[in-house]
Symmetry: C2
Subunit: 359 residues, 2 copies
């Protein structure tokens, strides 16, 4: 289905037009340190070069690129934030180098091809927001052959976890349904209309929003109860939109402690490695894995399993993941997790299958 630009703006871009939201990203030290180090420890990639910043937001990555020695930086931003970026560039005396262009990357044209594309395009669980599509489009149109992608690689991870949120969500859901039954009774008694026909669709609606919608969470590493596995490995220099439109993968994970298996958790990392002909002097990693001290604004996405399952150290899991874009909004996702659990005794348990929405 074709994307209506006005609707996409209302649903997606509009939040990026607020400085408040840009500030949230600019205050994420893990994110900032990674990009900062990636640029300044690899100045040779920027010196004298033409750079394109896809979705410049406040302008930060474009400014760093210029400060690292770029000859010219094209900083493209779809929202009115472009005006703020332009002011920031000027206040930092870089208007001779950084050119802010307001427009979506798909629509604008540049006067030349570039040596480097830098972009911070990652959404929750990497692919939410589908902004990497725009980076691919920029790369295919504006990157010189052999040019560099910042970041150069990206990976998606999944692991089994424990989480008390599973109980809380179930309680919320139960309370909401109890309230619903009262509502149906009262509406019949007071107003003579039997709403029981809505019980099933209301329940489905609530299941979707309480139980089947993934949650943002900043997990403690100890909540991870089995090995994490990689479900997707992306080379930003070569990946096509078809490569990332959906994810199909199967990983095996061994349970590392007796515990409750409450949810799957998903996160990502990206790397700044340059490329074969032109490698990074220092490779930088930005990871959003569960961490006590180095949490990010992305946190992790948690997909709750109702009811949770008791598992034992040594249980062998095979986790199947299948992720697609939602039909109604190409920037949101639907994920199916299947899980086969072989008990450490060798016995196979009934397989799990759960569907989730990343909203």
């Amino acid at each position: 289905a074709a994307v209506d630009k006005g609707v996409d703006f209302a649903n997606y871009f509009c939040t990026y037009a607020y400085l408040y939201h840009q500030k949230e990203m600019l205050s994420d030290r893990v994110r900032m340190d990674a990009y900062f180090n990636a640029v300044f420890r690899n100045k040779h990639h920027f010196q004298g070069k033409a750079v394109l910043d896809v979705g410049t937001g406040s302008g930060i990555l474009a400014i760093w690129s210029a400060q690292a020695g770029a000859r010219k930086v094209y900083a493209v931003e779809a929202t009115k934030m472009a005006e703020h970026a332009r002011a920031l560039v000027k206040a930092n005396n870089l208007e001779g180098i950084v050119e802010v262009i307001e427009g979506s990357i798909e629509d604008i044209t540049l006067p030349e091809k570039v040596d480097v594309i830098i972009s911070e395009w990652m959404g929750y669980f990497l692919l939410r927001e589908s902004m990497f599509d725009s980076v691919i489009c920029a790369r295919d149109r504006w990157l010189k052959p052999g040019g560099l992608m910042y970041p150069s690689h990206a990976r998606m991870w999944v692991a089994p976890i424990r989480s008390r949120v599973v109980d809380q969500k179930k309680d919320d859901y139960d309370r909401t349904m109890e309230d619903w039954y009262n509502f149906v009774d009262e509406t019949k008694a007071s107003y003579g209309v039997d709403m029981n026909i809505f019980t099933k669709p209301f329940k489905d609606e609530q299941r979707k929003y309480y139980l089947q919608t993934s949650l943002w969470n900043n997990l403690h590493p100890e909540q991870v109860i089995g090995d994490a596995g990689i479900i997707k490995d992306i080379d930003c220099s070569t990946a096509t939109i078809d490569d990332i439109r959906s994810v199909r993968s199967s990983i095996s994970s061994s349970i590392t402690e007796n515990n409750r298996f409450c949810a799957y958790a998903g996160w990502f990392d990206v790397h700044f490695r340059g490329n074969k002909q032109n490698p990074a002097r220092e490779e930088i990693e930005l990871t959003t894995a569960p961490s006590e001290e180095h949490g990010t604004h992305w946190g992790q996405q948690v997909f709750l399993i109702h009811p949770p399952l008791n598992v034992e150290k040594g249980d062998a899991l095979i986790i199947d993941v299948s992720m697609d874009r939602s039909q109604e909004n190409h920037r949101l996702m639907e994920v199916e997790f299947g899980c086969e659990i072989r008990h450490c005794s060798g016995k196979l348990r009934p397989p799990l299958k759960h569907k989730f929405y990343i909203e």
Copy 2:
């Protein structure tokens, strides 16, 4: 500016497609009792008649109209909620009378003109959502001459109030700005970029969202510290879109107790009176005024004044209100309040002027 239907759907209609949201309205006893009594105590208006329900949602008003004896009810709903409404009609054995039509009232056609238009179109402070436009459109196209509007009249009220929220909002705002200054310092120190140029626009953004955006509140009647006045009186049978596109009014209000003047509050009421040729047997009122026991889901809209002002019993206020639709979204509003305060001693205080957004 023309309204993009897709964008309007994304911004406005989409919430109404959830049973959860319909339930919130269906659980508002004040609202429900008013419409229920309006219909069932004036059955003579419905018996044997053709009725149009503009925005039927769950279908409730259409079903009541049928139960009160309507010959035919056209129940028009723009969202997928129409399917649920159809199921409810069937479950209540009214499919011979109530015809649910999915579509926006502006686009659909009916096979006949109707005797009664019923609709629950009221938004916060009455006019938010601008749904009355659709009712006017329906009336002008589908109501027989002399036909009835349910409700028949609507009024907007304003009063001076006290509220501790004014202090809390100011604290929040101050904290956010403090945090901002730290952020600017740290960004300069750690990342070599001076973001101070964003301070003014960030402050403006925050002022808008913390201080100048109206708040939903369920006020206690004792929080009203001066006489309430009517700023708009609408006859639903004759009002045109031009009549309601903006509100310009001036009311006088006398302070009834020594207190802090912290905010203007706005609310509305509607009446079901039938019309001159065909009056209601029993007039029903639905009011959203501050009330200890009869609060509604609409609450009141509160427009905070920073800093609040000490006022005394007998102080005479002249409050000017000017409300317009927001440029970016015709369903949202911008309001300006001016206030002239004559102290009980006769002395005139410096006039107030504040601009607010109803988001």
